[in-house]
Symmetry: C2
Subunit: 327 residues, 2 copies
């Protein structure tokens, strides 16, 4: 069964979805919808571009929309609006606002008889799944999430807003000693500072006060003050040459006990090492788009998250093949 | 909502389930059913023991049976027989026979209007899940399963059948160089010998020909001939002192590509490090017993595997709490 998708919003994530379609023979890309003037936008694969205002004219041609806008302002409006007319998948990742986003999208998707899958990606997404599986299997235990080594877009942006900074890239790095302590089964209590360090590569404007910039970074509340932070000043050329990728990753570790008196320890670790954060997220979005189309064909509707979707829905293969090949 | 379970078969797995119940406040253990004379069996927690022949008299008292028999002869008969009258969960792990087991159990569970979950544990089980998630997200890639370091019961038994062997314990050990090659993203083709080694601790009878035993082990077809195998002769006391645990573990690694021309590599690794293989398997069985009860209450029936069950069914918490806490 073919699934016809369309992309809404053409940034890193939208381009990632466009690439991922090439790796899925059962998925076809109908086009890209954008707020920009369509003729101004050149896609990687030459797929058609339409203005977002025309999207309802294409309703019958599209099985699932993949919403690639941002969580701050785009998705809180777009997902509930479009879920009334289309099956949709988004990567809404403002953790604290997921319950209210879910409620708004659920109402719209139910009204329209569509399936909407929100907060798809790796965190939230695959990491959430692993937190759930871990605590369901080992209820007496602790869960730890470590991020990196990888580029944090939010922290890089925060540095760029400092006076005298031309460009910057920030890496979040897990502390090996903390990882080892968790993997030992000791179930340690770890502070923010003990879990991650932050490394910053900064291009300063000519004549800028580097000591002042470094101090402003290291003392920035929420972003850096609670971490051991290292700052390196480099040239724009070095930044482009050595830090233009968007790698990321991380791990969810569940440490739990079993036995009559908790005498046995088990460690479950799920880890990701990603060359391209947006391309991996796009790949997850595409698998859940396939699931959304199939669930809607089976008569389901409403808002779902990765926690609500049986794994087999993500695969183009049927149950008999999956049992034979993967169990 | 409380779930009342009963255990069928009281070996390592049955005892593991009995212990795991203590860690799940929403699960209650009704009793143990056995083929042995009930009064001859002493349970760890003093839970009642019944003869298996009486099980149908207890139908109304039990939400889910956890079948803890062996895959060779017990489960192929027990699971289809009991799935007609009870929701059941088993850990059937003869990979090649899962399709026919599924068919037999599906017919019975549908006829009885019950939910039967088969092949629950870690392999098949959690490893199967991770193979599915991995290939659905990164369809262009390779999957690798490594086992160990851990005790293989089947290989230990095979050594014990050799003349002159009193007792034995066999460890399956993944080859670090192979793990490193896979994690590098090189997607290597690995032979059986390149992936795992086997280490054997053997208690020989007095006067037995050790060189002959060692040779018989190392050349045993299927079990050892294709591996680099090390044999250590030790005393029965040493075996009991140093090798009486049943640790195991392993990892499923998906290595895949993304990007317009596959230029980015991603590594997904799921790993388990288990102090007690049967107790961990029991913990997984219990989570799926909860799911089976809930799915049946919602009107579902038939045979399911871990691939068919939405993760949220494994948790005693409701959707709103899971979204708030885990996404």
């Amino acid at each position: 069964m073919q699934t016809k998708i369309a992309i809404v919003g053409y940034g890193n994530l939208g381009r990632g979805v466009e690439c991922a379609v090439k790796q899925n023979a059962d998925i076809e890309l109908y086009g890209v919808f954008t707020r920009r003037e369509p003729s101004s936008l050149k896609t990687l694969t030459g797929v058609p571009v339409y203005h977002i205002d025309e999207i309802l004219n294409h309703q019958d041609e599209i099985d699932v929309l993949i919403l690639c806008g941002g969580s701050a302002t785009d998705l809180p409006v777009q997902t509930p609006t479009l879920a009334r007319f289309f099956n949709v998948v988004d990567s809404f990742d403002t953790h604290a606002k997921i319950p209210e986003h879910f409620a708004a999208v659920d109402a719209a998707a139910n009204a329209g008889g569509r399936v909407a899958v929100i907060s798809v990606g790796w965190d939230p997404g695959m990491f959430s799944l692993n937190r759930l599986y871990g605590e369901a299997i080992l209820p007496k235990g602790e869960v730890y999430t470590f991020w990196g080594k990888g580029v944090s877009q939010g922290h890089s942006d925060a540095i760029r807003r400092i006076e005298g900074v031309v460009d910057a890239r920030q890496y979040t790095i897990p502390v090996e000693a903390a990882l080892d302590a968790v993997r030992s089964g000791a179930a340690p209590t770890l502070t923010t500072r003990e879990k991650h360090t932050r490394e910053c590569f900064v291009v300063a404007a000519e004549g800028a006060d580097r000591a002042k910039i470094e101090n402003e970074i290291k003392t920035m509340p929420n972003y850096f003050a609670d971490y051991d932070t290292t700052v390196h000043f480099i040239t724009q050329e070095e930044l482009l040459r050595d830090h233009s990728g968007i790698p990321h990753g991380g791990r969810v570790i569940r440490s739990g006990k079993s036995g009559l008196s908790g005498e046995h320890t088990h460690i479950i670790e799920y880890s990701l090492k990603l060359d391209s954060n947006p391309e991996f997220t796009s790949s997850v979005l595409l698998a859940y788009a396939r699931a959304a189309a199939r669930m809607n064909r089976e008569g389901m509707c409403g808002c779902k998250t990765v926690l609500d979707i049986a794994p087999a829905y993500l695969s183009p293969c049927d149950g008999a093949e999956l049992r034979k090949r993967l169990l």
